[in-house]
Amino acid sequence: MSSAQFVQYLISGITSGSIYALVGLGFTIIYAVTKIINFAQGEFVMLGGLVSFTLIYRAGIPLVPALFLSILIAAAVGAAMYLLAIRPPKKASVVSLIIITIGVAIFVRGIAGQVLTKEFISLPYFSSEQPIPFLGAHIDTQALWIIGTMVVVTIILHLFLTYTMVGKALKACAINPVASSLVGINPKTMALIAFVLAAAIGGIGGVVFAPLTFMSYQGGIMLGLKGFVAAAIGGFKSPLAAVFGGLLLGIVETFVVAANWGPFTSDYKDAIALVVLLFILLVRSGRLAEEERAG
């Protein structure tokens, strides 16, 4: 392939990768703090897109405030989800918690379809629709927005976790809930914060990529699964790992397409992402066992 093509593939990969990364971040934050795999994560993204669409085209609110408002709404939904569905059950197992999050996902999806819209929606580009030439390839301005947002969110999150009081508390809670509760950190509050954060990040994601990749009330499922794979590749450990997982996933996908193995390539690329996931899980399994013994 020509160098221009190569660059194009890379850009394309990084773009979708950033999307997966943003979803993956949400998975990671919630998992780290609560050990819950939140399968409703994709729905926050969907909400971000659909709510801002509704606000702009139905309520006639100008773009920028609409975007922020919809991010807030997504965050609120996240809070509600935790308070109404995740906190109440007393001795809920891994399985029942997973089912709860899926139940919430189905619920949110249904409501969105009924209340917001069943159409596919797209938002206006944030800036010019004219692509920018770059090393013989072309970059969509919105793609830059997506990548940029992903980077900024990651940095802010990182700073938040390392330098703010709350952030440190979250980290402590993720590493050892028992100990942190002894030093007066309330795990439940931390869990709430985690859900709000994850939901907000999901909302942000939805808002930035609705212009480029259209969204419908059913769009959350597959995005969620991709983000889940990204987070799992990252080991549900650190935000940075999740971002790495997302980018890896996106880039692998595009280059599998570039390699073009016959008519089913696009299916193969999904399969390959999952194979990568399994491989990493199994490789890691040894260390996981050790961790369990230590703990």
């Binding site: 020509s2 979708s16 969509d140 480029l212 259209f214 059913q218 397409v257 696009s266």
Partner: protein, 405 residues
């Protein structure tokens, strides 16, 4: 204490379930608005993919039928009998579709319209055939009705998939295009299209070849198709044929603009939605797709046998559900129900007679999809000559314009 609370919840839930059942029954008894309560309603079944991954196609079909039922019953029903259409959502799931088909049969419907997709129709047709209930499908897969000999009880209203492709290939030849690239959705609709797109006899009939690396696919969940398009842009392809439903083709249109690709993009009737233009924006301009006449009804000559009916359907539907909501897929449901209604008018609620009527008496019968001529050997009824069956639509400054040739 908590325990008792828990039991209370259990109790409430159980009661709730029973209540649901109750509500269900009551709503069912109400049925449709009945002009002459004395007359027993004619029960017709309908299966549509109102949710799930086929809902992009199915979402206008349920509203269409609901609208028609109101109109018919307001006008006094069928020979004084109110029309009661029981509509169920298959959730795009073949298994659910079969369960619901059986359910409809057990509820005593005289005919079933739908389902939306080829897969669901294939799953349902054996059941309906066995129960001797006519099935008028709304899916384009030719396998549903061909060979007609083995599908006595099954009909379908949309233009068959290969006809649509025939139409596009025909046009490509007229434009002296010989090298094409494909970009198809791996899910049902796109995959079904691809089967015919790569069909050699099809290609050679119009002197077309698919360029090496020109047979690309995308997943329904894909957020970006630049990789596939970059691949194609490296080939000698003179045009891209994209087969799928939203949002795929819209993303393709936008990505093509991003990559500065100027070769024409041809799409299926799977994009004959307002939402395609809304989502793809200016990138939609120049896109050509084949469809029934509904999108460009306003441009039809008054002599066109379908015009009056198309206009009525469009205006009625959009008056009820909003500007630009009507589309050809709702039209398929319209035709399907209309055939059954005509049959009921003529022969009453007799399953076998209804089938016979549709097979033999739907002749020179204008519908939204075209002018139907059903026969024992043709259970689709639309002309196999693509030029008559379908038209080409070009999107010019975000409007559908009839591409006459």
């Amino acid at each position: 204490m908590r325990n008792y609370f828990k039991y209370a919840v259990v109790l409430v839930l159980v009661i709730a379930l029973l209540a649901l059942g109750g509500i269900g029954c009551s709503t069912k008894e109400e049925g449709g608005a009945t002009p002459t309560p004395a007359a027993t309603p004619y029960k017709v079944g309908a299966l549509f993919a109102s949710s799930g991954f086929n809902s992009t196609l199915g979402q206008t079909q349920k509203p269409t039928v609901e609208m028609m039922v109101d109109q018919i019953n307001k006008a006094g029903g069928i020979n004084g009998h109110p029309l009661d259409v029981i509509i169920y959502d298959t959730k795009s799931d073949t298994a659910t579709a079969t369960t619901l088909a059986n359910k409809l049969i057990e509820e005593g419907v005289v005919a079933i319209i739908g389902p939306t997709s080829t897969g669901e129709s294939m799953a349902v047709k054996t059941i309906t055939a066995q129960a001797n209930v006519a099935l008028v499908s709304c899916a384009a897969g030719s396998v549903i009705v061909e060979p007609a000999g083995n599908n006595t009880w099954t009909f379908t209203t949309p233009q068959l998939d290969y006809v649509a492709i025939d139409r596009i290939y025909m046009y490509l030849q007229e434009q002296n295009i010989t090298k094409i690239a494909l970009l198809t959705d791996t899910a049902g609709f796109g995959a079904a299209g691809r089967k015919w797109l790569v069909n050699q006899t099809m290609l050679s009939k119009y002197g077309l070849t698919i360029v090496p690396d020109g047979d690309q696919t995308y997943g329904t969940s894909d957020v970006d198709m630049q990789a596939q398009l970059t691949k194609i842009s490296g080939t000698a392809a003179q045009a891209i044929v994209c087969w799928g439903t939203n949002p795929g083709p819209a993303i393709v249109a936008r990505n093509m603009r991003t990559l500065g690709m100027t070769i024409p993009l041809f799409c299926s009737h799977g994009i004959a939605f307002k939402s395609f233009i809304d989502t793809a924006g200016t990138a939609a301009n120049g896109v050509i797709f084949c469809a029934g006449k509904l999108p460009i009804v306003d441009q039809l000559p008054d002599t066109d046998p379908q015009k009056a009916l198309l206009e009525k359907y469009k205006t009625d539907f959009e008056a009820r559900y909003g500007e630009g909501t009507a589309n050809t897929f709702g039209g398929h449901a319209y035709d399907a129900l209309m055939m059954v209604v005509d049959a009921l008018k003529a022969v009453g609620p007799d399953k076998a007679k209804i089938r016979d009527y549709i097979e033999n008496n739907i002749v020179n019968w204008p519908g939204t999809g075209g002018v139907y001529n059903m026969s024992p050997l043709n259970h689709n009824g639309l002309p196999s000559d693509a030029k008559q069956a379908m038209i080409l639509v070009k999107i010019v400054d975000s409007k559908w314009t009839w591409l006459q040739d």
